[in-house]
């Protein structure tokens, strides 16, 4: 049984059907990537899994539990967190407070929170230097680190990242992807949404291609990297 399974998910904005019968699986321990053009519905998929949007039909199983009727804030307690699109930093909270919010689901367990924070600071030493700085004053790259670090604070089993490379300089993109790999090696399963298909597929074990709200292609990442259509449409090769 996979860690996360979506079965025929349909999500609507008003009367517009944005996700059409999406089914996908994320096996424990893997990095799975979801790629697709702008507006394909990647963010919508993640928001549906997180519980911010309700699917009109279909089923989502996390660790064997159906979660598509559970409120978003309770899903976090099951071990599923997300670094949302646009990073979602709380601008007037300090770096440390942002991280603490990530561990909200741990309740008042200060020891665990402290330990998690140390782990995040180890992963992103830049954050440790700036822990008293307001989130809104961080640079774009630092905000992305904070966003990922914050999502790790709850010790998730599955981490969902929505375009972590967006708007970052190439060097920083490399660093972020390396960190994602490191996180995965520590045992956290990752569902990665990316526009930067090449980097994502190189990192991932398995990939899905989303086109106008439906999965058009899936397969082991290596195969997708060499797939004619993917190369043409998403890797910019002729």
């Amino acid at each position: 049984m996979a860690l996360l399974e979506l079965h025929n998910i349909n999500t609507y904005y008003g009367n517009i059907r944005t996700l059409k019968d999406i089914s996908l699986k994320v096996e424990a321990g893997q990095v799975v990537t979801l790629i697709g053009a702008n507006g394909a519905g990647k963010t919508t998929t993640l928001r549906t899994v997180s519980g911010l949007l309700r699917p009109r039909s279909g089923e989502i199983l996390f660790d064997g539990h159906p979660i598509h009727r559970i409120p978003a804030h309770e899903i976090v307690y099951l071990g599923l967190t997300q670094a949302p699109e646009g990073r979602g930093i709380f601008p007037t909270l300090t770096v440390q407070e942002n991280l603490n919010m990530g561990a909200y689901s741990l309740g008042g367990d200060r020891g665990a929170i402290e330990a998690n924070r140390e782990r995040v600071y180890e992963l992103f030493p830049r954050l440790a230097e700036r822990k008293r700085q307001l989130g809104g004053t961080l640079s774009g790259g630092e905000q992305q680190m904070l966003s990922i670090g914050r999502a790790l604070m709850a010790r998730p089993k599955l981490l969902m990242l929505d375009e972590p490379s967006l708007g970052l300089a190439p060097l920083l993109v490399r660093a972020i992807f390396e960190t994602v790999q490191a996180i995965n090696e520590q045992g956290v399963t990752v569902l990665l949404v990316e526009q930067n298909a090449r980097a994502a597929l190189r990192l991932a074990d398995y990939g899905y291609v989303l086109e106008t709200g439906a999965i058009s292609l899936e397969g082991p990442a290596q195969e997708l990297l060499h797939n004619e259509r993917v190369r043409h449409a998403y890797l910019g090769e002729v």
Partner: protein, 310 residues
Amino acid sequence: METFLQQLINGLTIGGFYAVVALGYTMVYGVLKLINFAHGDMFMWGTLTGWALLTTVFASFTDMDVIAILAASVVVLAFIGVMGMTIERVAYRPLRSAGRLSPIISALGAAFALQAVARNVSDARWRTYPEGLLAELPNVQLTGRVSLSGLQVLMLVTCAAVMIGLYLFVQRTRVGTAMRAVSLDHDVSRLMGINVNRIISLVFFIGPALGGLAGLLIGIYYGSFNFTLGWVFGLKAFIAAILGGIGNIPGAVIGGFILGISETMVVAYGPDIGLADASAWKDAIAYVLLITILIARPTGILGETVAEKV
């Protein structure tokens, strides 16, 4: 100089009340971006409930008025707090995604309803608190003719305690930080595992409860009230919140004191500078202050200059 000091003290006292009521507005505005027009009337309900308790249930405690007042405070805190939560649940939550116009109407409707019930409960008459409550509190002599009455000291201390307590709660505790997070972004807060509805309920408990407490205190301070008390006072407290920069707790406090002091000073010194009937115009001071400050600093004294789509 001495009159000035005396007026300053009076202004601080009334400003403290404005500040405590303003806190409720500011917290609610923070988490929901909603002007809770019913807040002023919940404040008045605090006065009303306090009056009802002190003249009936706790009336026999007149010898021990401190205990009676403490007991009444507890009841008022709980009752008005629950009232606030109920109003949020019934009148605001269903409208959370309905644009900005409908919650305004709903809030005004809730205010009307509260006022109408209070009007009938109090028979639309002026009501007085028992005489001589806390009369034995000692006065504090500052200089020659400047003094604080015991009541004023109590009011100032209570208001200060409430404000500092709330500030520490919001800044230092986990739930307080979650409150600030919710006021920044509901969705991201939910992704953190924060139960946004529960936080909002909590805000709607704390704000009105404190407002109700201020209502009780003002009842004791002034001695009499009627059911329209909440509207004007609430509006001014809301203006205080805006003066300081809404959504911002120190801002509400600063705004409250500015407003309280300006009102007292204008009434006291108005005749000297040619405003013969300054007290008749007293209520206009808040509005004039509001307009001037907003023209100069559109987001208030401590407000951040954020661009927001209307």
